[in-house]
Structures are given as structure tokens and as C-alpha cells.
């Protein structure tokens, strides 16, 4: 994600942009902004059960809802939240880049699992034919990105959030 490009869209006033630009160079602020984007993805997926475009996720296959593992993890057919062990959504991490930041999966297996959801996996439908089931949870619409960016900048200006300690927690836990 290119933060300077997002800044231009978020703030039409060039003076405001000049004032905010240095804030977005701050590593702790960048990482917290990225973390808030992850929070948005996780909350939307787990609580609202909708994809990045606001569309409800397709129902789980009967073979999955009737499986033992589904029962062991106490899941409900009606709660399509892409969460069984929590490992996939927990493995999303923010990386600091020269242009801004990226969000990626820290584990190759979880990355593959996410890839299947995002791009779709071929499944046999009840009528017998093959079709792709996609549940594209990975992303945040631009207007939502702007809202989160402005809230993050405001927290920094108001000193209402301890960005450095948050970064410390992230770093020491090996989460980046």
C-alpha cells in the first residue's frame, strides 16, 4: 500500500497533507495503521460474515458442516466466519516498506489457505457440476482505509494512543 497516494486522496488540502506526511513516515504510526486495517478485516470477517465488498460469505459445504472437526471446534452452520483454529486470521502481519506498508501472511500454510478463499476453490455443486467458491475477505475498501488513516493520525496528534508501546508489543512478540 502506497501511503503517500492514500494521503493525497484522504486530504484535499495541500497544507494539511504537508503537515501529516511526516507523521506517516513514523514507523510506529505506519505499523499501527496497518494493524488497524487487519483489525477491520478480522472484525468484518468474524462478526459481519461479509467479504471485502460487503457481500455475505457463501454458506459452508454440507460435507464440512457435518464433519467431526466442525463439531469439535463448536462451530455453527450459520456463522460463516472463516475461523476454525483462528490460525489463518491470526497470521496476518504488517510489514514496513519504503512506499508504505504491506499486509501478508506469516505462515506458508495459512497463506495457501487464504489464497484458496481469496481466489476460490473448485467444489462440486449439488447439481453435480464444478464451480468456484470464493470468500474474498482480504482487503479494505478505500473509503474505509481513509477513515482508519484519519483516526490513526488523530490519535497521534491528540496523543490518545501510545504508538511506541504498541510497536514494542508487536516487535517483542515476533509478530512483524
Amino acid at each position: 500500500m502506497n501511503l503517500q497516494r492514500l494521503l493525497k486522496i484522504a486530504y484535499s488540502d495541500s497544507r494539511a497533507r504537508r503537515a501529516i506526511s511526516p507523521i506517516l513516515q513514523n514507523r510506529s504510526v505506519k505499523l499501527e495503521f496497518g494493524q488497524r486495517l487487519i483489525d477491520e478485516i478480522v472484525n468484518r470477517t468474524q462478526k459481519d460474515n461479509v467479504d471485502k465488498n460487503g457481500e455475505p460469505f457463501e454458506e459452508y459445504a454440507d460435507s464440512y458442516t457435518e464433519s467431526k472437526v466442525f463439531e469439535i471446534y463448536g462451530k455453527s452452520d450459520s456463522d460463516v466466519n472463516l475461523t476454525l483454529t483462528e490460525k489463518m486470521l491470526s497470521s496476518m502481519v504488517v510489514k514496513n516498506t519504503s512506499e508504505g506498508l504491506t499486509i501478508e501472511f506469516a505462515d506458508a500454510n495459512e497463506n495457501a489457505k487464504a489464497h484458496g478463499h481469496i481466489h476460490g476453490i473448485k467444489r462440486r455443486s449439488k447439481s453435480g457440476g464444478l464451480r468456484k467458491v470464493r470468500r474474498d475477505f482480504f482487503g479494505v475498501p478505500q473509503d474505509e482505509q481513509i477513515k482508519i488513516l484519519k483516526a490513526t493520525v488523530k490519535d497521534f496528534q491528540d496523543e490518545s494512543f501510545d504508538f511506541d508501546t504498541a510497536a514494542e508489543a508487536r516487535d517483542s512478540g515476533g509478530l512483524e
Binding site: V69, S90, T165
Partner: protein, 178 residues
């Protein structure tokens, strides 16, 4: 047999440690207990050298027959050979005769205990008699299972990440209030 999960919080800086409350550690410990319970019930353990999840070693055909209640053994009674049917076990939650998920009666996995420490927590098996076997304690049984081809009592890398994410979320929640 105890597993010290202070390492989950040990990595955190002292400032962060002070933010994490005892109440939250209890929630975290319960989450860790549930992770091990559910993963094991699903038939998976953790490879001790790689830290990745692996399917638990399959049950032997003889043991499957025993779990089905089809097992009999011969013994001598007053000098005569007699055949005795082994008592059929009542399988525990999510147990099935051929599924390798460390569930015969369910007593072992149901008995994982939690102890909260200052900056972390401990998961352990109590040293009480195992009701089904009567000869060993739950702790001895868990240790035997762990050391004889079905390691299950630890967290995989992915599971540690789930717990660390919970810690990180809690810390950030607290930092918003400051």
C-alpha cells in the same frame, strides 16, 4: 507433567508485561487449554523438533478391536484355561474406536489444569489416579503418551501466533485507554 507457557509472555518487554492483567492471563490460559484439547480431539499433535502440527500416530489393529469391545484374552483359573472378554470402554467425547485422538474415556484431556503465574501461566496434568486404568496417575499417563510417539502437549508455531495475537490485541486495547 507441566508445560510452562510463560514463554508466550516472556518475549514481551516489561512495560507490556505490566499491562497484561492476571484476569487476562486466565483468559489466555483457558484459550491455550482449549487449543490443545480441540487439536488433539481432531487427531493432531505437535512435532517437537519442527513445532508444526502432525497427525497422531494411528492406533494398532489390536487396540481398535479392544475399543470396539471385541477383545478377549485367555488366563488360567484354578489350573484351567479360560477366555475372558475385556470390559468394553465407554469412549469419551469425540472418541471413536479407530480414531487416534488420545480419547479412550476422555479423562486425560478433560483433566488439563491451569495455574496463573505473575507474567504467564502453566498448563499441567494433576497427579491424581486415573479412574479407568486405576494403576497410574493422569500425569503419568499423559507423560507416557507424550514420550511414546504421540506428542500433543505443547503449542505449534501457528497456535503460539494465535495467543500472541490475543496478547497484542489486549495490549493495544489498554493503550487506547491511556
Amino acid at each position: 507433567m507441566a508445560k510452562d507457557f510463560t514463554k508466550v509472555t516472556k518475549a514481551l518487554d516489561s512495560t507490556v508485561k505490566e499491562i497484561v492483567s492476571q484476569a487476562f492471563l486466565k483468559v489466555l490460559a483457558e484459550k491455550a487449554r482449549q487449543i490443545i484439547y480441540r487439536r488433539t480431539k481432531s487427531g493432531k499433535g505437535v512435532n517437537p523438533s519442527s513445532g508444526s502440527e502432525q497427525t497422531l500416530k494411528a492406533l494398532s489393529p489390536r487396540y481398535i478391536e479392544y475399543r470396539k469391545g471385541n477383545f478377549a484374552f485367555t488366563t488360567k483359573k484354578k489350573g484351567k484355561k479360560v477366555t475372558v472378554n475385556a470390559r468394553k470402554p465407554k469412549l469419551g467425547e469425540f472418541g471413536s474406536p479407530s480414531k487416534s485422538n488420545l480419547t479412550l474415556t476422555g479423562e486425560m484431556l478433560d483433566s488439563i489444569q491451569i495455574k496463573i503465574q505473575r507474567y504467564g501461566f502453566l498448563l499441567y496434568f494433576p497427579n491424581t489416579k486415573h479412574k479407568w486404568s486405576k494403576r497410574v496417575t493422569v500425569r503419568q499417563l499423559a507423560q507416557y503418551v507424550q514420550e511414546n510417539g504421540r506428542p500433543f502437549f505443547s503449542l505449534s508455531q501457528g497456535e503460539i501466533r494465535v495467543l500472541l495475537k490475543a496478547v497484542q490485541d489486549e495490549v493495544r486495547k489498554q493503550l487506547r485507554r491511556i
